[in-house]
Amino acid sequence: MWKRFDPARPLAVIVGAILAGVVAGLAASVLLTFTAEPVIDRAIALEESHHASEPNAAVEPELVSRRQQKGLGRFAAYGLGGGAYGVLFGIAFLALRRPPGPASAGADGSRTEDAFGRAVRAGALMAGAFTVMPFLKYPPNPPGVGDPATLAERQWKYLALIFLSLVVLAGAARLSGRLRARGWLDADRLVAVGLAVVVPLGLVCAALPPFPDSVDVPANLLWRFRIASLGGNLLLWTVLAVGFGAAAVRRERALAGPVPTAAGATLRPATTS
């Protein structure tokens, strides 16, 4: 299976990215067992104590036990979600491919792109749209927060934010490719691309309306949950992008074979990106 993994073939990329995504999701879930679950348990205990103080509160039937939710349920959610993220990451990895030829060479004439750098850029793009931007604008809340009556409204805002973030980040990636093809210096190009990322994303954040719900849990609990969530999701994207990239760059080099130099020694392709 390893021998059939060629980072230049779309099918191999998508299958490899799904595998990397499932592994990354399970790894993040292991971390969350220790960082997030104690916080979720406290949030649910708090919610139940509020319910208990209301005389006519309806008791929600428990379809899935807490033990299942925090074990099988969360590992399944993160495994399946990680695999789905992997597909989207793989498509980003394919779409970020630079054309062969002079445009992909750096200012000193060396090829500066390799599969690892491309995987890291694809991972950063996906993490930005799916984790970092939602965290900044609509940060995650523990169970017990949120009015079911406003759920559809919050879901649409959340989806709109991810979609607009993807559009902005994909546009910035395309701009970067065009500036590179025109021979811009890397320093100038990075400033231009940075502005093309930060300014539109700031406008998107300012333009989208906030969630309507009040958040009535202690700030300490709330932020422990948010930081645990951010940590787990960033770990997922890091393991996915770095794991896939490390495997892809090895296969890319193995398939390209050693590059002979004038001195007769073998030169490995540059790793900087």
């Binding site: 959610a77 789905a84 597909v87 498509i91 779409a95 984790t131 609509y138 523990p142 395309r174 645990a228």
Partner: protein, 67 residues
């Protein structure tokens, strides 16, 4: 000439058709894990909220809005 065609190729996303299909399947999977509030699981489980409840911790931790 070659630089023009190279520049043109940076603007085109060359993906096989099945990759778009895979993307749709992935988005469907994300919907099932993070957005479903009963529509899907009413077809696969005895209770319409079974999947919603099973994935509940994961949904909150992914950061998706929930009740």
């Amino acid at each position: 000439m070659s630089s023009i065609s190279a520049a043109a190729r940076t603007t085109a996303v060359n993906l096989p058709t099945w990759a778009w299909l895979a993307m749709v399947l992935a988005l469907g999977m994300l919907y099932a894990v993070t957005f479903d509030t009963g529509f899907l699981s009413s077809h696969v489980a005895s209770s319409s909220m079974y999947l919603h409840e099973l994935f509940h911790d994961g949904r909150h931790l992914f950061g998706v809005p929930c009740h």
